[in-house]
């Protein structure tokens, strides 16, 4: 049992109230999505979305699971991109962060600048678009979702901070034992920077899982549509149906399709599981965010 040392004072009431208000501000919008996905479509249109389902109904989920092809395909694309992308991305990040963490590496400074400069200046969207499309021929391929995101300079610098935390004496004694750089990286650097690896891995997973922009610009093939893009297309479709129903004076009945509730049901199906997984990783996240804000 908690011991209460003092009675709640006015100041603690103010502090707790403000924090509870922000907690509610953060989660209540999610409750709206959840409740509308379990609502009856007609009731939604009549009374609007609320925090509790309007006339509880599973119709939207029934409809979503009736034609699961699109969503399963999108899940497949996103999982593939996230897994392959994360493995490659992490490998490249570690392989450059480790040399950058070595104080006596001759190319350390020029290489860090080479990396850092891309954070300060870039060619802009148009040249990048033309390069990927016309010269690298990545348009409408799965690799366009993976390759351009491969190295994030910020992640390299976070990883470097963790590698620098490894005591130099360990490397020195390994050198005496005749260990090369590769051995030192995989036997000493990586095992002693597990927290850093976890942090960066999570940043990368989030990057690939949530990427919508690349697909928006580079994909036409519906088979390659990732999850986030599918959600966006769904909203566009629902709005299109609604507009046309209005334009044609209700000749087309949009009521046949539980569009609003279906849209939010898809939302829950598409993101629910991952949001659950993400919340387990948050402690690494805090560490990464603070490491990223500090220098060297």
């Amino acid at each position: 049992m908690m011991m209460h040392k003092r009675k709640p004072t006015l100041s603690s009431i103010v502090i707790y109230a403000a924090l509870i208000a922000f907690v509610l501000f953060c989660i209540l919008p999610f409750a709206l999505v959840l409740s509308s996905s379990f609502s009856d479509e007609e009731a939604l249109k009549e009374y609007g979305i609320g925090f509790f389902p309007r006339e509880f109904s599973l119709e939207a989920y029934r409809y979503a699971f009736q034609y699961p092809d699109d969503i399963l395909n999108a899940y497949g694309v996103t999982v593939f991109v996230t897994v392959v992308g994360t493995v490659l991305n992490l490998l490249l990040t570690v392989l450059i962060a480790y040399p950058l963490s070595k104080q006596d590496f001759r190319w350390r400074r020029p290489m860090s600048f080479y990396l850092f400069f891309t954070m300060l200046f870039n060619g802009g969207l148009v040249p990048t678009y033309l390069l990927l499309k016309n010269y690298l021929h990545l348009y409408d391929t799965i690799w366009v979702l993976i390759l351009p995101l491969l190295i994030v300079p910020g992640n390299v610098f976070i990883m470097r901070v963790f590698f620098q935390g490894v005591p130099r004496s360990l490397y020195e004694s390994a050198v005496i034992d005749g260990a090369g750089e590769w051995t030192m990286l995989f036997r000493i650097g990586i095992p002693l920077s597990k927290a850093g690896i976890a942090t960066v891995t999570f940043f990368i997973i989030l990057l690939y899982w949530n990427d919508t922009f690349t697909g928006l610009l580079f994909l036409e093939d519906p088979k390659l549509t990732p999850l986030q893009l599918l959600l966006n297309q769904l909203v566009n479709y629902v709005q299109y149906v609604q507009q046309n129903a209005v334009v044609s004076g209700g000749m087309i009945s949009a009521a046949d399709l539980p569009d609003k509730s279906l849209m939010f049901a898809m939302c829950v199906i598409a993101t629910g599981p991952m949001l659950f997984v993400f919340s387990f990783f948050q402690k690494y996240f805090v560490r990464g965010l603070t490491a990223g804000a500090l220098k060297e």
């Binding site: 100041s11 502090i15 403000a18 969207l125 390069l131 491969l150 190295i151 922009f213 919340s279 220098k295």
Partner: protein
């Protein structure tokens, strides 16, 4: 003497070997960065050309014509103003929300409450902007929660996706929702490293909670506030494309207050096929961004030497 010479020679040889190995190790990343970040810089020439897809990079050079066209168009000032204005709104409100949350979290003694509140602060941060846009839709759409609430209270139906005047406020709230909690946690974690004995000394002197916040916690956070704010100002010419695009749903009537450089470039490229103009704005943005970053770094160096980025 001779012995030490050979030893140092051996050392430098070993060093050369390990330098080469380290270089080899980083080469995949170096090549990737070259191809995807440095090669596109060559494409900047498009900004000075009358770009035609058929002739590509060999299109006719027109000097600064694209820039002249830009400066003459009213769109340019609109997107420039929106980009700067929205960013200033986001930075100022974000800072206040984050610092207050950080200070308040630091005062919480109940471990369970701390844990639950931190977990919920992360929810908005974890999700994609595509999903965040859908969540906003559940509030502002024709059947949305907020729309229905306003209708119930005033009898008026507000079509949020048609009325640009509400959007600076909406986007500010969305930004605070998505980023405020996590930035607050950064400040909270910073405070956790503060020297506890200072607080104990203040207790003995009879300082109350607000006084300790004002005179111990806030000064302790000063460096972090400075670093994070100056970094945001360095990025003031860039607005998160995904945020604007997916929350406004690319709705034309909202452009007067929500169209920013990044969304304009996207449309010029993907909808209008106006490559040269898009490239010109992109270059303008990159150059201004570079200037702001260098300036921000100068300022950091001057006031907080250890916070300089480069």
């Amino acid at each position: 003497m001779k012995k030490t010479m050979s030893k140092s020679k051996k050392r430098s040889m070993l060093h050369g070997k390990s330098d080469r190995r380290l270089l080899l190790m980083s080469s995949p990343a170096l090549i990737k960065i070259f191809v995807f970040s440095y090669l596109p810089m060559v494409g900047i020439v498009i900004a000075f050309q009358d770009y035609k897809p058929r002739t590509g990079f060999l299109s006719e050079f027109v000097g600064f014509d694209n820039f002249r066209y830009l400066i003459a168009s009213s769109n340019f000032y609109r997107i420039l103003f929106n980009t700067l204005f929205l960013n200033i709104l986001f930075i100022s409100t974000g800072l206040i929300v984050a610092v207050v949350l950080g200070l308040f979290l630091f005062e919480v003694t109940n471990k369970r409450f701390l844990k639950i509140s931190q977990t919920t602060f992360f929810f908005p941060y974890f999700i994609s902007w595509a999903l965040a846009g859908m969540i906003l839709l559940s509030m502002l759409d024709s059947a949305g929660f907020v729309t229905a609430l306003i209708e119930k209270m005033t009898g008026e139906t507000v079509a949020f996706y048609m009325e640009s005047k509400y959007w600076p406020l909406i986007l500010t709230l969305v930004n605070a929702w998505k980023m405020g909690g996590v930035s607050g946690i950064i400040y909270y974690t910073t405070l956790m490293n503060a020297d506890r004995s200072v607080y104990e000394a203040a207790d003995i002197d009879g300082a109350n909670r607000w006084q300790k916040m004002r005179y111990i916690s806030v000064p302790y956070l000063k460096t972090m506030i400075f670093v994070l704010t100056i970094m945001s100002f360095a990025n003031i010419i860039h607005c998160d494309f995904n945020m604007i695009f997916f929350t406004t749903r690319n709705s034309g009537p909202l452009f007067p207050t929500t169209d920013v450089i990044d969304t304009y470039v996207f449309r010029a490229l993907s909808q209008d096929g106006d490559f040269a103009i898009a490239a010109a704005i992109g270059l303008f943005q990159s150059v201004v961004g570079l200037v702001f970053s260098v300036a921000a770094n100068r300022i950091s160096k001057r006031f907080e030497p250890q916070s300089a980025l480069f």
